[in-house]
Amino acid sequence: MLKITNLQARVAGGKQILNGVNLEVRPGEVHAIMGPNGSGKSTLAHVLAGREGYEIIGGTVEFRGQDLLALAPEERARAGVFLAFQYPVEIPGVSNMFFLRTALNEIRRHRGEEELDAMDFLALVKKKMKIVDIDEALLKRPVNAGFSGGEKKRNEIFQLAVLEPALAILDETDSGLDIDALKTVAWGVNAMRSPERAIVMVTHYQRLLEYIVPDRVHVLAGGRILRSGGKDLALHLEEQGYKWVKDETAGVR
């Protein structure tokens, strides 16, 4: 589904952050990308989503047979790439429901499906609300405006549930969550696991992986994937910390 080959990117006119990332993700798989702060995890997520401000210096990204890097951010979203933001953005004045319906209909139109009217959409929302235990009142409020940190993260997963992307990238979805909120969010993500869908979790801590068990774990450091393995790799990291990673990267450089 997703094939990243030797991806190199830098902040526009600035520092190089990705130094040749290779990663292949197949449908149905859940991958965790772990690494110390500043290793390029979030950059990777945003480069995949198409955020402005990064320059691709080399490499390719293929998504379902398409050249992902050639697409505008909204085209990537419509093609099935979803990014759950580490810091979801507030949009005052635009109701969550309206926002999400607009997004869903853009995606449906792209797929050649009929747009949902307000009634059908409401029915869908009611169904999906249960997945992340989100309050209906929250949906009527402006997008993320005045939401608590936990509410914002839950809202991201709720959007994921409604938009049903082929590939979900979760950027530090666990950060700032207490254990109960973490469990709720993890429950929502697990409910979204399916043979057709791939999930890539970017996280600093192993904690999230206790609740969302990955098929593969990758350690990203210095803008490259240093090591890949099964879920045990995460436990190894938990015990050892990231110090060994730093030592190894130092060696590489």
Binding site: G50, P73, G93, V94, L100, A103, E106, I107, P142, Q159
Partner: protein, 481 residues
């Protein structure tokens, strides 16, 4: 398209209604003197008292100075270089129905998306179409007159209902009021007149579409709306103007009067030519709008969506004389390119338990400068007066400006006054977030802007709200990649 370029592109969306109808104008020569005023008055066959009133205003105007306190900058206006009267010639025959109206004129309205026929038949809107300075067509008159409602051009009102005009003209905005209003009193050309008798609820929205047409012609509209005791009327004013290079001066006066238990709702969508992206050309819009809640429990509500003009200087206000009277002001002002708007309201609380609400939304893009200027005055006897003000600014790009000048004067200890203000910016991160959900950058900007204005748009009558939303969308057009 990247969001930074998107924002820039949005700021460059062009004026879509730039065209000029080729209608023969019957204009006064340039310049302003007592002779000009006599010419106008004679052209319009006015009674002596009105000419006298105009001349008094003109003499007073000569003693006045153009105000400079607004946060707007424009080259000095040469009032002697302006022609103060222009009428489309085909109106001289005074058409009795739409069939007699110049087809070219009708075509123009069709271009604006307001076919009169359709409105007549479908929308239930009576249109007093003002082309330049003379009313050309008035519809639905019969239906309204059955209810005793008078809806006609100002000139016609002067001829047919001189007592009403004489009683109310200048009763809200006196001829000495301010530089631009006084100028209007001296040279006003035409406009609309509405009188709704006691206890009558006007069954349809009354609507006037203004057009500024002849080159170099100042436009001095005069509108007077009176709702007698227990009456209700909703009035819509909407306008677009053709593209041209010279600056055009527009100084209108609107007076509203609401007697006991009466309600007047006045809505405006304004899209005059704002000038090009370098600030060349565009309309100067110096308007005085004021409503008097004369009676107990009376209610006046202003709603405006200002999206055009190079300079906007406009403060639709309410004088709350009657006990328990209510004044409202809902405003969206959009400035783009080099547009400058200094707009807001005055709420003067005189009666007891009077209430006012102010909701102002300013949108600045390009190099636009947007100022909210509002006065809330609670006078000594206005026991239990309340005001709530909310002023929000939205910035698009980093070259524009938003400014807020709220004035509060309170002379009564029982008053309750609330003021809230906010400034936000459409950021690249918001656009990116929308894009990541599949929404294009242009739709994202449009969605955020419409969301920002929602509270105000909701105050507009249904058809008008759609038009206003379209207009805001139109302003965003061209931001498509």
């Amino acid at each position: 398209m990247t969001s930074a370029r998107e924002i820039e592109h949005f700021a460059q969306a062009e004026y879509k209604y730039g065209w000029t109808a080729d209608l023969e104008a019957d204009s006064a020569p340039c310049g302003l003197s007592e002779d000009t005023i006599r010419f106008i008055s004679r052209k319009k066959d006015e009674p002596a008292w009105l000419l006298e009133w105009r001349l008094r205003a003109f003499r007073h105007w000569l003693t006045m100075k153009e105000p400079t306190w607004a946060k707007v900058h424009y080259p000095k206006i040469d009032y002697q270089a302006i022609s103060y009267y222009s009428a489309p010639r085909s109106a001289a025959g005074k058409p009795k129905s739409l069939d007699q109206v110049d087809p070219k004129l009708l075509e123009e309205y069709a271009k604006l998306g307001i076919p009169l026929r359709e409105q007549e038949q479908l929308a239930g809107v009576a249109v007093d179409a003002v082309m330049d300075s003379v009313s050309v067509a008035t519809t639905f008159k019969q239906k309204l007159s059955d209810l005793g409602i008078i809806f006609c051009s100002f000139s016609e009102a002067v001829r047919e209902h001189p007592d009403l005009v004489r009683k109310y003209l200048g009763s809200v905005v006196p001829y000495t009021d301010n530089f631009f209003a006084t100028l209007n009193c001296a040279v006003f050309s035409d406009g609309s007149f509405v009188y709704v008798p006691k206890g009558v609820r006007c069954p349809m929205e009354l609507s006037t579409y203004f057009r500024i047409n002849a080159s170099n012609t100042g436009q001095f509209e005069r509108t007077l709306i009176i709702a007698d005791a227990g009456a209700y009327v909703s009035y819509l004013e909407g306008c677009t103007a053709p593209m041209r290079d010279e600056n055009q001066l527009h100084a209108a006066v609107v007076e509203l009067v609401a007697h006991d238990d009466a309600r007047v709702k006045y809505s405006t969508v304004q899209n005059w030519y704002p000038g090009d992206e370098n600030g060349k050309g565009g309309i100067y819009n110096f308007v005085t709008k004021r409503g008097k809640c004369a009676g107990v429990n009376s209610h006046i509500s202003w709603t405006q969506v200002e999206t055009g003009s190079a300079i906007t200087w406009k403060y639709p206000s309410c004088i709350l004389l009657g006990d328990n009277s209510v004044g409202e002001f809902y405003s969206v002002a959009l400035t783009n390119h080099r547009m400058q708007a200094d707009t807001g309201t005055k709420m003067i609380h005189v009666g007891k338990n009077t209430r006012s609400t102010i909701v102002s939304k300013g949108i600045s893009a390009g190099h636009g400068q947007n100022s909210y200027r509002g006065l809330v005055r609670i006078t000594r006897n206005a026991d239990g007066a309340r005001n709530y003000s909310q002023c929000d600014s939205l910035l698009i790009g980093d070259q524009c400006g938003a400014h807020t000048f709220p004035y509060i004067e309170n002379q009564n200890p029982t008053a309750r006054i609330e003021h809230e203000a906010s400034t936000s910016k459409i950021g690249e991160d918001q656009i990116y977030y929308c894009q990541q959900r599949g929404i294009s950058a242009e739709d994202a900007v449009s969605m955020i802007v419409n969301g920002f204005c929602r509270e105000v748009l909701a105050e507009l009558p249904m058809e008008f709200a759609v038009e206003a939303q379209k207009l805001l969308g139109l302003k965003l057009e061209g931001s498509v990649g």
